[in-house]
Amino acid sequence: MKQIIPFVILFFVLTSCQKEKITIGTNVSETFYLDNKEASMRLLVEGNTASKTFLLFVHGGPGSSSYFYNTDYISQNIENKYAVVYWDQRNAGGSQGNSNRDHLNLPQMTEDLKKVIQLIKYRYGQDSGIFILGHSFGGLLTASFMTKDDYQSMVKGWIFADGSHNYPLNDTLTRQMLLTVGQQQIVLNNNVSSWKTIVDYCNNHTGNFTFEESVQLTDYAEDAETYFEEVKEIDLATLIDYDPVQYGWPVTSILFNLNYSMNASFNRDLAKTEFSSKLGKVTTPTLLLYGKYDFICPGRLEEDVFNRISTTDKKIVISPISGHNIMLQDESFFCKEVNEFIESHK
């Protein structure tokens, strides 16, 4: 009998951690995982699941994390009305896997997103209303989702925040914005040496950008918004300063996943990817948000989406004080627009 007891204890330890827990309430916080093609992707659902309305963050990167969007402000101003789903994509944030590089590509991630939505509906009811919000690279991923087959019928609305749906066009617009604004800033005698370096680079690299040129333009774009005092500076150090210990962030996992994904070979394929030509298929209500000082994904990308989608139920708005992270740099503006959009389409 004594020999059996350890095995009985081990059995209960192994099985008890897998028990399904689904909470319908107004102040929920629960984590579960989607296992798909050699990746186990973390999903954190917080807020008001009783509302049956879900806002799904599709983060940037590739390889960033949804942990960064889970701020106190969003908890207090969106999660109190609706449930927010923080999804870590494959090879990102708190997601796990072994050697899974063969599955790290946009078509696979589009299928992952579809399964995430199917899983949310399975857990919280098929009548749940889901809104997807793509930020930065998440804009490309959600554009891929919205234009594939009839996938858009799974969601009630598409929110496109500082996103990119067309990487070649993105490079062209980033260069144009850096050049135009840079020349103005030099005339105004603001950060002259930094802007001069950027303007010189843009003058010497005029189009048909290589992958390396694209990376360099993005680096300059990241720097550019920091030259404006009205823009709240957001970098990795700022995000990690949000007290990751208190919120249980897997910091080393986030950093190693980010480093791997940002340097993975599929970024070269993404650099040639565009969805402008397919956006006419989109008939779902759409909200487009961007920051005036976003050089990484300039606002003219949102204008391109706005002009090409077929739905007449669309709105485009600009934050006058934000750069590339509108949900962190202009929180009240972001929450107000998102809440109004969801409320009128849920």
Binding site: T15, Q18, F32, Q96, T252, F256
Partner: protein, 115 residues
């Protein structure tokens, strides 16, 4: 590898190789191509694990004939292949070791060096 000096101070260095099995911290689902959802039991991953650690402490049995030691140790765990890359995890240990007087005493191999 632990070295205990005659005055009771100890130092420790511990390189380790092992196998790690993680268990995901929540229910894990699979969704097939038809949208059918199932639960994956005992979801997690096996990783090769390397660990390097070092620490210091004090063995009270050397000077005060008390059967315990205190120690502090810092380890770095490295697991791979973790999402096709590696995963590093720092671990800090602070502990107390109690050694019952006759427990496995015959199996302990000790070397002592006198100055």
């Amino acid at each position: 590898m632990r070295r205990i000096k005659s005055n009771g101070f100890l130092t420790e260095f511990s390189p380790e190789v092992g196998l790690s099995r993680t268990f995901l911290g929540g229910t894990t689902y699979q969704v097939d191509d038809n949208g059918n959802v199932s639960i994956k039991k005992c979801a997690g991953y096996y990783y090769v694990l390397f660990s390097v650690g070092g620490g210091i402490g004090y063995d009270f049995s050397k000077t005060e004939r008390k059967p315990f030691s205190i120690f502090s140790k810092f380890n770095v765990l490295m697991m791979f292949p973790y999402n096709s890359t590696i995963y590093l995890r720092p671990v800090m240990e602070i502990g107390l070791i109690y050694k019952p007087i006759n427990f496995l005493s015959l199996k302990v191999k000790s070397k002592s060096r006198k100055k």
